[in-house]
Symmetry: C2
């Protein structure tokens, strides 16, 4: 890829902005803002043509590699509205670094993280009116990279497209902050060491759909995955990492390569350490979890992720046995404290001792002629 | 899905047919014929609007689930030209049944196999001039089903599109029938029991790209995968199942759920049994393979798949050790016999004792107004 100065981002404005949905109707990932960002890659030219264009269908050759061999990576982060009306991002550098790591695993060429960072800023500012104002709401940002070369051989693509879309979101889980019931999955496996589990890529989620569906049909909110080798060690929950407060320690599975290196996970660990609460990142056997639930030392359990922030787990179903966590029906004190602290930092309601948030200001530049 | 009589397949002809490529330039999956088949699914309507339209770009919402969560399945089969100029398919029912099984694993609604079968017939006949005539060439048929609902939640889509494209193919491997060198992969894992390995879906191939690329950069044609649990048992090779002739027995890994149930694999097993040659489907440890190579009892090794039919393996690289198979530089007698017999049956040059081939005749009906 030739070294080149980053091109300026061209902007073609949407002349027919959509009506904004009611806050109550938001849900997750259902509505999309008026614009999206795109940029193309070819082996001979590198990444080029960064542009913001009206949100709308994309054209792909039916032989585009991503449609057959799943060569793609993605990210998910949020923009939050602060009490003063400003807009903040939460640790976007972590998401861009993870995107770069995922790209390495999937054989996708490196991106210019600064350019993508600038694209995020420009896109969010352009569609800032889409950021809902109600508490708990936010604007979810989804950058993704697709292998678009029209060639059916199983080999890395020589052409890619990076796209970024945004969706205003309410609360990810229908029940909001109530503790959820989670099913421990004993049949299906999501990922295994040596596989794709550590990368944010489509195949991991494809692998989870069936288990998710079966769990949902039995009334469970999510699936808790066990490792694919021993079928014994805790991995993660749906789109969340998982934490347990057992006695006075907070434990979470170590990053083994088969789970996602969550930005929220990292933030929670840092907050806990900052608060002087002992944490352990290690292997956690399902038997240990079950024993702690049975003997009453499982004080709290929660999932962490961009979508749900910190989400209390009330019970686990293990092959029909109900394993209860803490006080039935209510989120534990640490779960609540973490939720409040994190959302406080994210929205600028609380101080940000770690310098995690990035304020987006600067009025949007006037639209330039687009080249789409 | 309401029960309904299958709709007739609408046809909109391509008024600007492309020039056909030279046979030498064919390769695999590089050129596409003038038409493609499409059909849509919504929960409320079931599959509808089966149609043949000119080959060209498809439109997808950038939030289409397949682009984020990889919910898709696909198949690959071939049409062959017989000496008399007729066209034959090889066991297409097996591919459609496997597509249906893959759909179950991916949470995709069932297809009407008869309708898709009819679509294959119509599409191949319409583009029959694309079927190259030279020996070893064929027309590869790629049906695939994409989750197209524009919704970012990780759950099965409520909208799908089935597409079928076709590509004239030369020989899959550049070196043709010469034995290839294969690298035994000891770091990456393609699939694990409980995962997606038994289904034909994008995620499995995404997981293979990195290993494939590293093997290719070291001069190996393909990767041989070991199981994800013990990292010890043979799984499959790239887009092929794998067989070893050790002494007088032919062994191949049993279908454990993590490898694809190959149509060619099944055909080879049936042919060998028909010929009175002993076969075993079982676990095969890499140590057993290595020992047989070292002590000279590894008489032949080959991969089987639609793309390459039967492809001789000349040597295996196991963490730097070169494990030699049979006589260096030449395909073994059984490998050759299987290749000749299978391609003979497929093209109609040899008798078809199993009733595996389906002759496509009937001249193509006149084009009806399309509804795309
Ligand atoms: C599989 C998986 N695990 C964990 C997470 C949590 O990661 P993060 O906190 O960065 O959102 C996510 C969501 O992004 C995920 O998809
Ligand atoms: C992973 C994998 N294994 C094996 C095969 C061989 O299957 P078949 O003989 O049906 O082509 C294929 C190709 O389809 C494949 O993709």
């Amino acid at each position: 890829m030739p070294i080149r100065r980053p091109e300026p981002i061209a902007v073609r404005r949407n002349r027919r902005p959509k009506p904004k949905p009611e806050t109550d109707a938001l849900g997750f990932g259902r509505f999309f803002t008026d614009h999206m960002f795109m940029m193309d890659y070819e082996d001979s030219r590198g990444w080029h043509d960064p542009r913001i264009v009206p949100y709308g269908p994309i054209e792909l050759d039916p032989a585009a590699k991503v449609l057959h061999y799943g060569q793609m990576t993605f990210e998910g982060m949020k923009a939050y509205r602060s009490p003063s009306g400003g807009i903040r991002l939460f640790r976007p550098d972590m998401n861009l670094k993870r995107l770069s790591r995922s790209n390495v695993r999937l054989g996708i060429p490196p991106i210019d993280e600064e350019l993508v960072s600038e694209a995020i800023r420009r896109l969010v500012l352009l569609d800032r009116d889409w950021l809902p104002a109600a508490p708990g709401t936010s604007l979810y940002i989804r950058p993704f990279i697709l292998a678009v070369e029209p060639l059916l051989g199983v080999s890395p693509s020589r052409e890619y497209r990076l796209i970024m879309i945004m969706t205003p979101v309410g609360s990810y889980y229908e029940k909001g902050g109530d503790p959820v019931s989670i099913r421990i999955e004993t049949e299906y496996v999501r990922a295994v060491r040596g596989g794709l589990g550590g990368a944010k890529t489509a195949g991991n989620y494809a692998a989870s759909l069936k288990a998710q569906e079966e769990a949902a049909s039995r009334g469970f909110a999510q699936v808790l995955w066990l490792d694919g080798v021993h079928r014994k060690y805790i991995e993660e929950v749906g789109s969340m990492n998982v934490f347990f407060r057992i006695g006075e320690k907070v434990v979470t599975p170590a990053l083994s390569g088969s789970i996602l290196d969550g930005v929220t996970r990292d933030s929670v660990l840092r907050l806990l350490n900052h608060w002087g609460i002992g944490t352990e990142e290690r292997r956690i056997a399902i038997d240990e979890v079950a024993a702690a639930c049975r003997n009453g030392t499982m004080a709290e359990a929660f999932g962490t992720g961009t979508a749900a922030v910190v989400s209390p787990i009330g019970e686990l179903d293990w092959d029909g046995e109900r394993l209860l966590v803490g006080n039935p029906g209510e989120a534990g004190p640490l779960t609540r404290r973490l939720y409040d602290e994190l959302t406080g930092i994210q929205t600028g309601r609380a101080p940000d001792p770690f310098g995690w948030t990035v304020a987006l200001d600067g009025s949007e530049e006037p639209a330039k002629p687009g080249r789409d």
